[in-house]
C-alpha cells in the first residue's frame, strides 16, 4: 500500500491506460491462439497464395510509404512555414481523407477512374489502377499520405524557423537550408511518421479492395487474403493470416527501431 502511495495516483492511472491500450494487441494474439494452431499457421505461411500476399503487401506498402513521404514532407513543411491565402481551407481540405472511411475513398477513386474523362484517360493510357496492383499503391497512398502530413506538420512547427534563416545568411539557398538544417533536425519526427504510415499501409483494406479489387494472385494483399478467407468462413486461415501480418509488422517495426537507434533517432 505504501508503495502504491509512493507511485502516485496520476502514475497509476497512466499505467492503467497503457495496460488497457496494450490489451488490443493481446486480444488479437489471444483470438489467434484460439482459432489457429501451429500446423494451420505453418501451412498458411508455406502456401503459395499467402507468400504472394506477403510479398505484394510488403512491396506495395513500401512503395506507397515512400511516395507518401516524398509528397508529404514538402507539403507538411509548406503548411508549417508558409503563409498564403486560403491556407486554412487547404489545411482543412487535406484532412478529408482522414475523416472518410477508406471504403468511401476507394469508391471515389473508382468513380474517378471509371466515370471521368481525365480518370479514364489516366487509367487507359498512363497507369492502370482499377482492379490492378498499382491501384493498391494508390489506395494505400491516398490513406497514408494525409496521415503523414498530419504527423509531420507539428514536427516542422517545433523547429525554430530562424535556423533556416541563419543557414541562408551563411550562403545556403532555401532548398539547401531545408535539406541541410530543417530536415536533419526533423529526422526523428519524419522517421516516426514514415514508420506509422508504412504500418498503416500494411493493414490498408477498405480503399484497396474497392479500387484494386480482391483478385487472388493479383491484387491479394494480406488484409484482402484475410477477407477472402473470412468470406469463406475459414476462421483458422483468416486468423493465421492475421498472425502473419502481425508478426511481419512487428518484425519490420523492430528493424526500423534498430536502424533508428543506430542513427541516434530515439524512436
Amino acid at each position: 500500500m505504501m508503495r502504491l502511495k509512493e507511485i502516485g495516483t496520476f502514475r497509476l492511472i497512466s499505467g492503467a491506460c497503457l495496460a488497457f491500450l496494450s490489451l488490443f494487441a493481446l486480444v488479437i494474439i489471444l483470438a489467434g491462439s484460439i482459432f489457429s494452431n501451429p500446423s494451420a499457421l505453418v501451412s498458411a505461411f508455406l502456401s503459395e497464395e499467402v507468400q504472394f500476399a506477403i510479398a505484394l503487401t510488403l512491396l506495395t506498402a513500401t512503395i506507397a510509404a515512400a511516395l507518401a513521404l516524398a509528397a508529404s514532407i514538402p507539403a507538411a513543411y509548406l503548411l508549417s512555414r508558409a503563409r498564403f491565402p486560403g491556407k486554412d481551407f487547404v489545411d482543412a481540405l487535406i484532412n478529408i481523407p482522414i475523416a472518410l472511411p477508406p471504403v468511401a475513398l476507394g469508391t471515389a477513386l473508382l468513380i474517378f477512374f471509371t466515370n471521368t474523362p481525365l480518370g479514364v484517360f489516366i487509367d487507359n493510357s498512363i497507369v492502370k489502377f482499377v482492379f490492378e496492383p498499382p491501384g493498391i499503391v494508390l489506395a494505400q497512398f491516398s490513406v497514408i499520405s494525409v496521415l503523414a502530413v498530419r504527423l509531420m506538420k507539428p514536427v516542422f512547427d517545433g523547429i525554430d524557423p530562424r535556423y533556416e534563416k541563419i543557414a541562408r545568411t551563411l550562403g545556403h539557398g532555401e532548398l539547401g537550408s531545408f535539406l541541410k538544417v530543417t530536415l536533419p533536425l526533423a529526422k526523428e519526427g519524419v522517421f516516426g511518421a514514415a514508420v506509422l504510415a508504412w504500418a498503416r499501409a500494411m493493414g490498408e483494406f477498405g480503399a484497396t479492395v474497392t479500387l484494386a479489387g480482391a483478385t487472388r494472385f493479383k491484387t491479394e494483399t494480406l488484409p484482402v487474403a484475410m477477407f477472402l478467407d473470412l468470406s469463406l468462413a475459414n476462421l483458422e486461415g483468416a486468423m493465421a493470416i492475421i498472425l502473419i501480418l502481425l508478426a511481419l509488422t512487428i518484425a519490420v517495426l523492430l528493424i526500423f527501431r534498430k536502424i533508428a537507434y543506430r542513427g541516434d533517432i530515439p524512436y
Binding site: 525554430d160 530562424r162 541563419i166 550562403g171 539557398g173
Partner: protein, 355 residues
C-alpha cells in the same frame, strides 16, 4: 518594414569600412528587426540597403554576404562545433578543413573541435557563432546582444576579448560591424559610433562624444541617463541661453530657441562636479562659462570606485564622481555643496519632459 502595429521607419545610417557601430535602444525598439532587415531575413517595404555601394535591398540573404550572430547564437544542434563553422563553406569548392582549423585557432576554440554544441558555455557558443559568421567572409558583421545571457563578470572579460578580436579582423578584412545592445557601457566599450533607436526610428547617430555632448531629443538624453530638467528660456547671454528652473538660472546651448519658450535642459551625471565652495573647483573649467548651484546631498551610494550621488539644488540632480574624491571632500548625506557644470555641457531641447 511592418510587423503588426510595429514598423521600422525613418532609419538612416552609414557605417564605414572597418568601423563598429553600436545600435542601442530599449527592448522592443526594433534593434533585432533592423538587423534582420540588413541580413535579408526580413524584407523591407521601402528604402534601400547598400553594401559596398551595391544595392542589396531585394537580394536573397544567401547572396548578401552579411554575417549575422543572433542573440541566442542558433548553433545548429545536429552539427558538431567544427561542422557548424564549416557550414558557411560547405557548399563551396574550397578546402574547408584548413579554413575551419584556421578560424577555430583564431577564435581560440580549437579544443572544441568535434564537440557537440549542447555542451558549450554561453561564451563558447558566442565564439563558435562568431567564427561561423566570419567563415563566409562577410562584408558586414551583425552582432545581436552577444553575451547578454552571460553573467556580468564573465561578460566584461568576453567583451574585452571580442573587442580585441573584432579590431583585429576589422583591420584585416576591412569589415564593418553593427553591435546591438541595450547596455550603454557595453556599447561604449565595443564601438566608436552609436545609433540610438526608439520605436522603430533612429533618434540620433554619430560618434559617441557628439551624442554625449549634444543629445538630439529628450528620449536620447533620458536613455543615456542624463538629468532632465524642465525650464523656460529667459535670455541669451555671451552665446549661451539662460533658462530659469524653479528660481535657479542655468546656462546652456541649443538651436533655434526663443525667449519665453519651454525647454528641457539635459546634463550628463558625469559632467557635474561638486565643491564645498562657490569657486570653481576644477582648474581647467575656470575660464569656461560654468553653472554653479547651491544645494545639499540627498543620497549617496558607492559602487566600486564610483559614487552615485543625488543632490537637491531646488530640483533634483544625479551625478557620478570617484570614491576617492568623495573621501577627499568628506562628502556625506545632508552636507551642503555647490554643484558645478559647464554651460557647454547643458543641452537645451525643445518641449517639455513627459514622464
Amino acid at each position: 518594414m511592418n510587423q503588426g502595429s510595429f514598423a521600422l521607419k525613418r532609419i538612416s545610417m552609414d557605417i564605414a569600412d572597418g568601423e563598429c557601430l553600436a545600435l542601442v535602444g530599449p527592448n522592443g525598439s526594433g534593434k533585432t528587426t533592423l538587423l534582420e532587415c540588413i541580413a535579408g531575413i526580413r524584407q523591407i517595404e521601402s528604402g534601400r540597403i547598400q553594401l559596398d555601394g551595391v544595392d542589396v535591398t531585394r537580394l536573397a540573404p544567401e547572396k548578401r554576404q552579411v554575417g549575422y550572430v543572433p542573440q541566442d547564437c542558433l548553433l545548429f544542434p545536429h552539427l558538431s562545433v567544427d561542422r557548424n563553422i564549416a557550414f558557411a563553406v560547405s557548399n563551396r569548392d574550397v578546402d574547408s578543413a584548413a579554413q575551419v582549423k584556421e578560424m577555430m585557432a583564431w577564435a581560440g576554440i580549437s579544443h572544441l573541435a568535434g564537440h557537440s554544441t549542447r555542451d558549450l558555455s554561453g561564451g563558447e557558443k558566442q565564439k563558435v557563432a562568431l567564427a561561423r559568421a566570419l567563415m563566409m567572409r562577410p562584408k558586414i558583421l551583425l552582432l545581436d546582444e552577444p553575451f547578454s545571457a552571460v553573467d556580468r563578470p564573465s561578460r566584461a572579460r568576453l567583451l574585452g576579448e571580442l573587442r580585441k578580436s573584432l579590431d583585429e579582423i576589422s583591420r584585416a578584412l576591412n569589415l564593418a560591424s553593427i553591435y546591438v545592445t541595450h547596455d550603454l557601457a557595453d556599447a561604449q566599450l565595443m564601438a566608436s559610433q552609436v545609433a540610438i533607436i526608439n520605436d522603430g526610428s533612429i533618434e540620433q547617430a554619430g560618434p559617441w562624444d557628439r551624442v554625449l555632448q549634444t543629445p538630439s531629443s529628450t528620449f536620447v538624453a533620458d536613455f543615456m541617463g542624463f538629468n532632465i530638467i524642465d525650464g523656460n528660456v529667459t535670455a541669451k547671454e555671451d552665446g549661451f541661453w539662460v533658462v530659469s528652473v524653479k528660481g535657479q538660472n542655468i546656462r546652456g546651448i541649443g538651436d533655434n530657441l526663443t525667449v519665453g519658450e519651454r525647454v528641457i535642459a539635459a546634463v550628463r551625471p558625469q559632467a557635474i562636479s561638486l565643491s564645498l565652495e562657490r569657486n570653481i573647483r576644477k582648474q581647467n573649467w575656470r575660464h569656461c562659462q560654468c553653472n554653479v548651484l547651491e544645494g545639499s546631498i540627498v543620497e549617496m551610494r558607492e559602487i566600486g570606485s564610483v559614487a552615485q550621488i543625488s543632490i537637491d539644488v531646488g530640483f533634483s540632480l544625479s551625478l557620478e564622481m570617484s570614491s576617492d574624491l568623495v573621501e577627499e571632500l568628506s562628502l556625506t548625506v545632508g552636507r551642503d555643496i555647490f554643484a558645478q557644470f559647464r554651460a557647454s555641457e547643458v543641452s537645451l531641447l525643445h518641449g517639455q519632459h513627459v514622464v
